[in-house]
Symmetry: none
Subunit: 239 residues, 2 copies
């Protein structure tokens, strides 16, 4: 991620005072900070917002950070930075095993946090996340007769292989990971192209059209990627 759009960080932290301090510091350093105090909702929030990075407190009401990390990993490819109170050293190992990318002990030192964040973002650029063989992410996504394999970036429809270009594959993978959800252009531009949607651009529509053609989907009566007029697009499970 870079200057195209501001980096979006989701901070999962129940300690509101701490969250405020951290949030303000990161905002001052040109990040767009989202805050979620409730562990029970954190998982959904991560998947919905698809932030560039997640800061995840381990001790949370509702649901603890380790559980969230494990649950969310198969469907969220971005970096997760765990926060833990002193004396929970052992959690570090567990956390990293469950898919966290880094680990920081409380009390939080804002400067140190910022350093770690930048390191993580450098390591895992958006490009890499689309790339996909991130540990923990499910390597294959099935939507009816369609199979998307992230490991070697291949797509099968039934028994035949579909040749997709880079952009087409990225788009398809994004839809495949959000089957049954209406995806707005704002979301698609943000998550797939990494730029802000300006309300006029049509490039994604064109990508969709090309993708549909290769998937044998008619633009007039699509069976896989439906157009939701005025809203966006929706991938459905066929047959």
């Amino acid at each position: 991620m870079n200057n195209e759009t501001m980096c979006r960080i989701l901070l999962v932290e129940d300690d509101l005072k701490l969250a405020k301090v951290v949030g303000e510091y990161l905002t001052a350093n040109n990040f767009h900070v989202l805050h979620e105090p409730d562990g029970a909702r954190a998982g959904g929030r991560i998947l919905d917002e698809n932030p560039d990075l997640v800061i995840l407190d381990i001790m949370l009401p509702g649901k603890d950070g380790l559980t969230i990390c494990r649950e969310v990993r198969p469907r969220y490819a971005g970096p997760i930075l765990m926060l833990t109170a002193l004396g929970e050293e052992t959690d570090e190992v567990v956390g990293l095993e469950l898919g966290a990318d880094d680990y920081l002990a409380k009390p939080v030192r804002p400067r140190l946090l910022l350093t770690r964040i930048n390191a993580l973002l450098r390591r895992t650029s958006r490009l890499e996340r689309l790339g996909a063989v991130d540990e923990g992410m499910e390597p294959r996504v099935n939507i009816g007769s369609l199979e998307v394999d992230t490991a070697n970036r291949t797509v099968h429809l039934g028994d035949q292989v579909i040749e997709l270009t880079t952009a087409e594959f990225d788009l398809l993978l994004y839809f495949a990971r959000h089957v049954g959800k209406v995806l707005t252009r704002d979301q698609i531009y943000r998550d797939v192209r990494g730029i802000e949607y300006n309300g006029l651009d049509r490039s994604i529509d064109l990508r969709i059209a090309r993708l549909r053609r290769k998937l044998g989907d008619d633009g007039k009566q699509p069976q896989r990627i439906k157009s939701i007029r005025g809203a966006g697009y929706l991938m459905v499970e066929d047959q």
Copy 2:
């Protein structure tokens, strides 16, 4: 939901004193609060009003909150926030399993409640509810020979496929989920278009006409979607 219309919250709570406090607090915070003290009537009320959010007390005379939640889930897609007295911890798990989206222990702290409500509303916009694979919602609705499949947004009449546009499908799904109920224009505009009915607009009448035509329903003698003069429209079960 957003600035188009004020957010409508249905509060199911038999403790009138509590209901009054909560209701006034939410009203002051720019919500439109509906109140239902009777558990036995709560289910019907939820389906009729189709509020943007339901606050559901677990301990209720008539019928308990868990039962209501389970019964209503397949036909109500909005967020449900459960309230429970202290010491009923175990209910949390059960509640979430039955389709509640969040859970709050009594005594109710208005500020906290407000925070939770806003979080839930952010998560579950009207757009998302169009999406379809919401957990707990029934994926298919049958009305006699008519079958509406929300998972892939298809409609079958007998053995033939009916091609509907986005708007037509949304409208049909809404009627299908409220078979046998007279739906006023106020309700339809609010729930399907997400705007307030101004008393003059005729766009829904036109949508109905187009839908009827595709369903093979004559506008003069409709067999599926009846016009209720002075009130609204009514979908009936077959012939």
